[in-house]
Symmetry: C2
Subunit: 220 residues, 2 copies
DNA sequence: CGATGTGAATCGTTTCACAGCC
DNA sequence: GGCTGTGAAACGATTCACATCG
């Protein structure tokens, strides 16, 4: 068995920290790509608009990989954070919904640059089934449960209309998916062991609009 | 120190509250559409997985529109929150970048259902310029500043490669844009009076992956 | 010296309890 | 009785200061 080296799981990690870890990884990767060998918490903080103390406190949640007097070795930081985030090896992902958003995702180059790979695409529309979608061919969504189980995928992207989202999310959870990126404007109800990240474009626009209004108020 | 007689305007609203307000609006709209006339803070809270006290506290930031013993009138709540969010009337938006994401956005029906309207689309690629994009025609991005100024738009969606994002963001800010939804994986530096919402798909996937690994989800 | 890791203090948000209104 | 609005308490996250190590 591949040992799960401890990973401090005793303590629950605050949500804001979970959101920042991938940001640190991105900076570290950028520095590594530019040949920078070490980086201080202060540098990391400046790049992200945070304080150096916060950076150190965040990183310590996942183990102390810095050296006093020196800083963090970018190579080491990248390796460790990739492992922490779970992208130290390729992650297979299934995509459900080949509408405008789904299509854009299959064309998006970012996936391969990072460690994610879309291994199957599903849609309900007979018109779309059989069409090429990136490296895949669109499959009938009715085969979703068996395909997901067969592929052993644990991550899914849901890009379907709101009405269909809950039912498909349930199917995915039943088939063993434990992580879901949801583009549908729906508040999915799922078991606690399934992680969900909602990407709701209209909601985001409204939040932006609200911030613009609030800022205007403060300005007066 | 002079007194501020403006009660709400000077008070800064916590970020988490700003994120939740559009959620309340969505629930209220749904209830209104189903003919429900009043709703309690408890009902709103249950629909979103919050506490009733939190809902009340949040809404009070923007004025007290509830009635003790009764609750909130959905009609009133919708009207007020639409105004608060700034979608009580149509909001013109410009879209920069007609790649896979930009194209998906022009096809997305959600915009018109909500109060946003894409009034101009820009790209750099001569191949794409002149092509239809929703109700618009793709314009040369070199005309961006004058077009934005002419249209008087204050909201923009940036769906271009990371390398081009900062320069275009600067142009947009100079042209009077005060709200920006950014799809590029770049940490934009902009004046404080410009609100930015980042939608970074790879970052979101990494945050999802990290949450799947941590699975520290203790009970509610 | 420079920079980390850490516990203590500070800050802000959420929760609670209750007074007041319907 | 039901429900809001509100100040106070509780909680959690961020900042700070410092001991420690390279």
């Amino acid at each position: 068995m591949a040992e799960n080296e401890n990973t401090n799981s005793e303590r629950s990690v605050p949500d804001p920290v979970l959101n920042r870890i991938p940001l640190y990884l991105r900076i570290a990767e950028d520095l590594q790509g530019r040949g920078v060998e070490t980086v201080s918490s202060r540098k990391l903080a400046q790049a992200l608009g945070l304080t150096d103390g916060q950076v150190r406190a965040d990183l310590v949640f996942f183990g102390a990989f810095g050296r006093p007097g020196v800083g963090y070795q970018t190579q080491h930081l990248v390796t460790e954070l990739r492992r922490v985030v779970g992208i130290d090896r390729a992650q297979p992902v299934v995509l459900i919904g080949f509408g405008s958003i789904g299509r854009a995702l299959t064309m998006y180059e970012g996936f391969e640059k990072r460690a994610f790979e879309i291994v199957a695409v599903f849609d309900r529309d007979p018109e779309k089934i059989g069409r090429p979608a990136g490296k895949c061919v669109v499959k009938d969504v009715s085969t979703l449960p068996e395909e997901v189980a067969r592929l052993g995928v644990s991550m899914a992207i849901l890009a379907v209309p709101a009405e269909a989202a809950q039912r498909l999310a349930d199917q995915l959870a039943d088939a063993g998916v434990t992580g879901l990126m949801n583009f549908a404007p729906a508040a999915l109800k799922l078991p606690d062991h399934v992680a969900v990240m909602n990407v709701d474009l209209m909601l985001t626009l409204e939040r932006l609009s609200l911030r613009m209004k609030v800022a205007n108020r403060l300005k007066r």
